[in-house]
């Protein structure tokens, strides 16, 4: 968990550091990177609860295909956080069930 500092092969060029909120908790991440990456670096692994059994769901495919990582982002449910870029001040909530479209 957390960001990798030094790496033997890669050098990571992160963008601007921004604050965002997950279920009210203040977190920090890099602008423009997937929300899921920032969540993981902040130690948050459970993104939603499944519709029928309330099972925890998290990251799985990282390419927007599997629907495991749906969260409520700025009030919009079913957002694939693995391919949605992080923006300053985003309000992210753990999603329960199917999500409500307002």
């Amino acid at each position: 968990m957390g960001w990798i500092g030094e790496h033997p092969i890669l050098s990571f060029k992160h963008g601007r550091k921004v604050k965002f909120y997950v279920d009210g908790r203040e977190c920090e991440g890099y602008e423009g990177e997937p929300i899921a990456a920032a969540l993981h670096a902040n130690g948050i692994k459970v993104y939603r609860r499944s519709v029928k059994l309330g099972r925890p769901r998290g990251f799985f495919c990282a390419v927007g295909k599997c629907s495991s990582c749906f969260m409520v982002v700025n009030g919009v449910p079913n957002v694939r956080v693995c391919i949605t870029p992080l923006k300053e001040g985003m309000r992210i909530q753990t999603q329960t069930g199917k999500g409500e479209i307002r």
Binding site: H7, P8, I9
Partner: protein, 165 residues
């Protein structure tokens, strides 16, 4: 067996080890490549023509021991990190192993490191003699002095500092 364990057998190692007189006369390459995969950078990286041209890119590499100078450019280039150089002429008791290294921290010249065999077991300590990165692509070649009898065993090093990694 290699296909089950990932560790080449002593017989396989014997196949790629040069004859005794060559091994005891100069630094020389050991290509631990036992599977026909489409790949030839060891040949294209070799400046002396010691790693022979491939008739079919899927063939196993073939070495002309007489031409090898032990320069280790192939060690740095092999995508499978399967090439090593062994120099038995270093001293009475020690040999040099040149091996590819892609981890942190990078050892410093003179540093004592742990030496691991093909199964990842620490078999000795060794002194780092030289660190270089010929292609500036993240693959370092580490020259480490090890007990002579372990020259054909040591294939990885681990830097241990302050009791931890």
């Amino acid at each position: 067996m290699l296909e089950k364990t990932g560790v080449p057998t002593p017989e396989q190692i014997k196949e790629v080890t040069p004859p005794e007189e060559i091994l005891n006369s100069k630094p020389v390459v050991i290509v631990e490549c036992f599977q026909k995969i489409p790949c030839d950078p060891c040949h294209t990286a070799c400046p002396t023509g010691a790693i022979l041209e491939f008739e079919d890119i899927n063939d196993l590499p073939r070495v002309d021991w007489n031409k090898c100078t032990g320069c280790a450019l192939c060690v740095a280039k092999c995508p499978g990190l399967a090439v090593f150089v062994v120099d038995m002429t270093y001293s009475d008791k020690e040999a040099i192993v040149k091996l590819p290294y892609e981890f942190l921290p990078v050892p410093q010249k003179g540093e004592i490191v742990e030496c691991l065999n093909r199964e990842g077991i620490v078999v000795s300590k060794g002194k780092v003699l030289h660190v270089f990165e010929p292609f500036k692509d993240g693959t370092k070649v580490i020259s480490v002095a090890v007990p002579k009898e372990l020259a054909m065993e040591v294939r990885h090093i681990r830097v241990v500092r302050n009791g931890g990694r």
